[in-house]
Symmetry: C2
Subunit: 339 residues, 2 copies
Amino acid sequence: MIPERSIEVLRAIVQDYIATREPVGSKALVERHGFEVSAATIRNDMAILEEEELIVAPHTSSGRVPTDKGYRLFVDRLNQVKPLSNPERHAIESFLSESSDLDEVLGKSVRMLSQLTNQMAVVQYPTLGRASVRSVEVVPVSETKVLLILVTDANRIQQHVLDLGGVFDQAFIGEVRAKLNTLLVGAPLTTVQEKLTAFEESFAQERRAVTVEVVSQIVNLVDANRSEKILVAGAAHLARRESDLGGNFTDVLEAIEEQVVLLKLINELQADHNGVSVRIGRENQLDTFNTTTVVVGDYQNQSAESAKVGVIGPTRMDYSTNIAAVSAVARYLTKLLGN
Amino acid sequence: MIPERSIEVLRAIVQDYIATREPVGSKALVERHGFEVSAATIRNDMAILEEEELIVAPHTSSGRVPTDKGYRLFVDRLNQVKPLSNPERHAIESFLSESSDLDEVLGKSVRMLSQLTNQMAVVQYPTLGRASVRSVEVVPVSETKVLLILVTDANRIQQHVLDLGGVFDQAFIGEVRAKLNTLLVGAPLTTVQEKLTAFEESFAQERRAVTVEVVSQIVNLVDANRSEKILVAGAAHLARRESDLGGNFTDVLEAIEEQVVLLKLINELQADHNGVSVRIGRENQLDTFNTTTVVVGDYQNQSAESAKVGVIGPTRMDYSTNIAAVSAVARYLTKLLGN
DNA sequence: ATTGGCACTCAAGATACCTGAGTGCTAAAC
DNA sequence: GTTTAGCACTCAGGTATCTTGAGTGCCAAT
């Protein structure tokens, strides 16, 4: 087993490296942290850490830098989550509590998280697998067009303009609306499609063309509701740390703009630490992200569907702060959306 | 006046510099463009151009680079807009014609524009100053909460969850909904607030607390509808050209993430070339953007409200392509949203 | 007005040298 | 066994010097 003091040395190295972004040497360690031993002793400890691949020397005879494995140990064993400051807590609470609209809440959250951590932040919309239909509205828009609106359990709204391909009378619209609501209200999204066959069949033959169109659009809306969606904020923070990313910053940015990739990335993680999970460097499956760390937490909405919120930054990041912030924002989101 | 051939030389310099990103010298010019004169002659022309501050030498005795003023002249006088290729036209048309939802159309447009130009693209939502209310929906959400939905002329939807602070009966909800619609349908957004006083007064005293709340939320929705909103895509393209930006890439990215700044930036411009307007380098008011060029066009929705769409990149960009693409996307957007 | 010729300039690359922070190891001290 | 002082060694990064070549500006000839 690795001796106690060596582990302390690792902690010190991680902290100093994060603070200074310079490889850290034995002398600096004794000076800055109250080790009651000489630099030579620290060097012995460092030799052990290097043996264990927890730290590495960028070139023979310069200071040491934590490896992914070193950060991992730091996060798992050493990182006492530093609670947010009171002003910070207060900011989150008052900032988020003002709004109840999902888009607004998530938009604010992701910007706030980005500010709190000085990292790029990401939030995923809850998937609505278990949600159900609250109501369907059909609103005339012009001579031949109506607006279909689907409202779900989770305050989520989807709309689509539908061209009926001919003029229609109010009564017909009313009938459509009534039938849709009778059939669908309360139905889980997963069952919507099958229920709609009944809807289609309830109309006279000459109306079929229109109803088929309506059905297909509603199915689309449901799919859109179930599909993944993501918000991002603070790309500039990532840019500012470009040098920590070993040159593939552009690739990272590109990957992040690709929703599919980003979704895959953050969904690899399952919560562990304080409800927060961390992937460090090469622990990420995707090569593009092998110099970045992803910190994500789960939050739940009232249908108990969970989604991710987190930050993405260079492996050389302030883990304490970031884990604390992600954890806090995830908790507040759950509180806000879960009632 | 500047002689004809000198102007041709400027065009050649701009083209070569855009293509090679290297300062371009007299010899290269004679070789690559069919000037029937010697390098020495070209050098005389270059001296004129330098005199006019249209080009500049980064260091004594290296090739020349266009100045902002040089690019300006190029754009104004020399740049024959190259029409999009047929495949490109087709791509735009089929890509955008599939969807009629505003969010979807704008989202797709901005991504497409970014791809077409290899630049960061931006699109502004139409402001709804002249739009009016199409309908108001009030949908029960839980024991004490309702969802207010405001639908406008321009297929734009805003929603907000409202806590009524107590249980309520269906009849009351129905009454609220009916009154709101009677009052507001067809009303321009600008007049909504005053019309709502009548709504408030039409209720018995004991209901007032609730109705006040409803009114204030609807006003909020209207404001949200009128406020500016922007979508951005392709930040990675900008990152890839970081070196062309003279080091302040991070600042640019930061400014762009700040909606207010971005709005100001693109609203400085008034259409001129083919309905497209260009701000080059220091022509932008904001110092941050003095190494970038902004190309924007206007598009209109059915209420004849116009909004901007465009790209942002380094001054050293392919003006022909970008102007053509922005112009095309703006036209298609107008076509799609204007009917 | 154009051109060949030529001296001149300067960024960028190559080469060499120096410095100092930091190491690993050994032998002595605790 | 652990700690420490001492010392030789390494090497990234800074500085200094040289070389090269693309490109210029200008002049005299066409």
